[in-house]
Amino acid sequence: MSMKATLRQVDSVIVIDMSGRITLGEGCTQLRELVREQLGKGKRQLLLNLADITYIDSSGIGELVSAFTAVSNQGGQLKLLNLTKKVHDLLQITKLYTVFDIHDDEAKAIGAFEKAAGA
């Protein structure tokens, strides 16, 4: 099963609801293209909802880092929402838990963007 993603806009934030696998190959490529496409449209506030991500590997973690860097380099923000235990554990093991801004409540995550944007 590969990765699926649906996009919706809440205020100024693009929420990307992702499901399936973010692994080397299709899943990573899809994520890269999604982020590139949004940045190309001038959307620089992205919230990745990982609630239904069933599997992520080292390449998938790298793709999240790449997305984070790409958005940050354009003056935007990328945040993560609803990590499963497996993804949470992987980000802790790899010390990336402190790099990403991680939320388990969508409204609060959106609010964090608004506050940051207005600061």
Partner: protein
């Protein structure tokens, strides 16, 4: 290149030969998960073993066999009462894992790649890279059953 010489049929051994195709990574994962379940590992450990095999097979296909579809990857799962040993063989020249950069170092934290071997080491009790006489590389992974886990130790009772 021939299969590893010790790949004989034993009740405790499962051997698989895969073409160097990333589509086969999921096949390897599924076998790893099934075998680790049979040995008696917890769901959590099954996932760790599954991920270690996933990362190892990707390395074998991508780095070892250079994504050459004419090459193969061999997996050998040896099931013991107290552990699972997994050997993953490719047709590449191998590498020295001690020379890989530390993905947890501050300067490497935002690197896009370089976490696969680290995850394998974290998830397994043993990780070795061995050259194969005549060509090829074996990656050996060992995971021991945790005797402090009642669910696991019960399965080891005679």
């Amino acid at each position: 290149m021939s299969p590893p010489p010790n790949m004989t049929a034993e009740a405790s051994v499962i051997e698989v030969e895969l073409a160097s195709d990333l589509k086969n990574v999921e096949v390897a994962e599924q076998i790893a998960r099934r075998v680790s379940g049979i040995v008696g590992f917890s769901e959590d450990d099954q996932h760790k073993i599954d991920m270690a095999v996933h990362e190892s097979v990707i390395n074998a296909i991508w780095h070892g066999n250079k994504n050459d579809p004419s090459k193969h990857v061999w997996l050998r799962f040896q099931m013991y009462s107290d552990r699972l040993e997994i050997r993953i063989r490719d047709q590449g020249n191998g590498y020295d894992p001690s020379k890989l950069p530390d993905p947890l170092a501050d300067e490497n934290l935002l690197n896009v790649s370089g976490r696969g071997i680290f995850l394998i080491r974290t998830f397994m009790d043993e990780f070795r890279v061995e050259g194969v006489a005549g060509g090829g590389t074996d990656v050996v992974l060992v995971k021991r059953l945790n005797c402090n886990n009642p669910a696991q130790s019960r399965r080891n009772e005679p």
